[in-house]
Symmetry: C2
Subunit: 190 residues, 2 copies
DNA sequence: AAATAGCATTGACATTTGTCAAGTAAATAC
DNA sequence: GTATTTACTTGACAAATGTCAATGCTATTT
């Protein structure tokens, strides 16, 4: 149940068996059914979730009720509202499961303790943070410089799994276009 | 010449006079004339720059020669290509000054050494990284959910100084619209 | 199996944004 | 100070995307 997590960690740093065992003790395992919330707007985000299995998404809801998707997280990715997690303020985001999913949760005290007991792991999380930032920057560049069709192609090339496993109207929201527009873009290439 | 930097740092953590002195020794002071580069595409980004005075911007250049602006940095902000800084790979970004500017540069070895000698400062940089991420996330949400006009208003409300000090066509690029479109948006409200 | 609800597709049309071209204003160079 | 370049504005038109409404499809519920 920790296979994927340590696979990912050991791509970046290397932990001894003893260190791995110690790490495990800080996580809480959680299953989420499709459509279940991990976090709802207004709650404090107490955990960052590593996805062992399934797909989650984070999103906001506008005044008009429209959903705006910020992030998808497939197996091997992490998700959570960092801002709320750190500050303890209520989150503006919702996070829920798009498929039945299995998660490894880490609370803030657990992170702190883990960093203390297994200092090496700090580097992994720092790298993670950087990667997340860089990825977001890339998405930003894509968004200001490309048309709807180009954005779709870029996403398809970079993360084909997302396109396959996520409903189309959510992909549209992620790209910042209407579902009808995405449907028309897709029709072109059949 | 370090006033602004320590003003910012001490908003988050508190350093003793001795610690401040120690910190100072890790920075390199640099003046940049308007239009001068801090970083050019293809170079390795060796420094993160804290802006004491002036305005810088980071941007990419597309195949068609169009510039896409990623970030502005006014007094009190930092700028640099984190990815290149960390990995040592050549940067895909350009960074230059939009006004005569004064910078405090920190190299990677200097950061490492500073963190070691003044551990407290680690927290400041971790917070900085988080804030940068959260700000980018906000911008992303704005970009996928708002029209050109709304994006302009949002930017104007959040960072009026940017609008005043940066050429309009760069604002347009930052928002992901054409200069003509921005000009027409601005005309409406006079 | 039938009923329901949500999702994807399509068409007609409206709105927003982009493109091209021209002209003016402002900044910079000489 | 004049010349030259660069930035901003404006208009006419084109292209992209959004809106609204109808339809069929698929999955879920009962």
């Amino acid at each position: 149940m920790f296979e994927l997590y340590f696979k990912k960690v050991n791509e970046k740093i290397s932990l001894t068996a003893a260190e791995e065992e110690l790490c495990k003790s800080f996580f809480v395992y959680k299953k989420l059914r499709k459509r279940q919330y991990l976090l709802q707007e207004g709650e404090v985000n107490k955990y960052t979730a590593f996805v062992e299995k399934g797909v989650l998404r984070s999103y906001t809801v506008g005044e008009n009720g429209a959903e705006h998707i910020l992030q998808f997280a497939l197996e091997g990715w992490s998700i959570g509202d960092i801002y709320s997690f750190i500050t303890g303020e209520p989150s503006k985001y919702n996070i829920d499961a798009l498929e039945d999913s299995e998660l490894l949760l880490l609370s803030k005290p657990a992170v702190d303790e883990m960093m203390l007991r297994v200092p090496k792991i700090q580097q992994y999380y720092y790298l993670q943070m950087q990667n997340a930032y860089v990825a977001l920057q890339r998405r930003m560049t894509m968004n200001i410089s490309q048309t709807a069709e180009e954005k779709y192609k870029t996403l398809l090339a970079a993360y084909p799994e997302i396109i396959q496993r996520v409903p189309q109207h959510m992909i549209a929201s992620y790209l910042g276009v209407k579902p009808e527009t995405l449907s028309r873009i897709r029709r072109k290439k059949l």
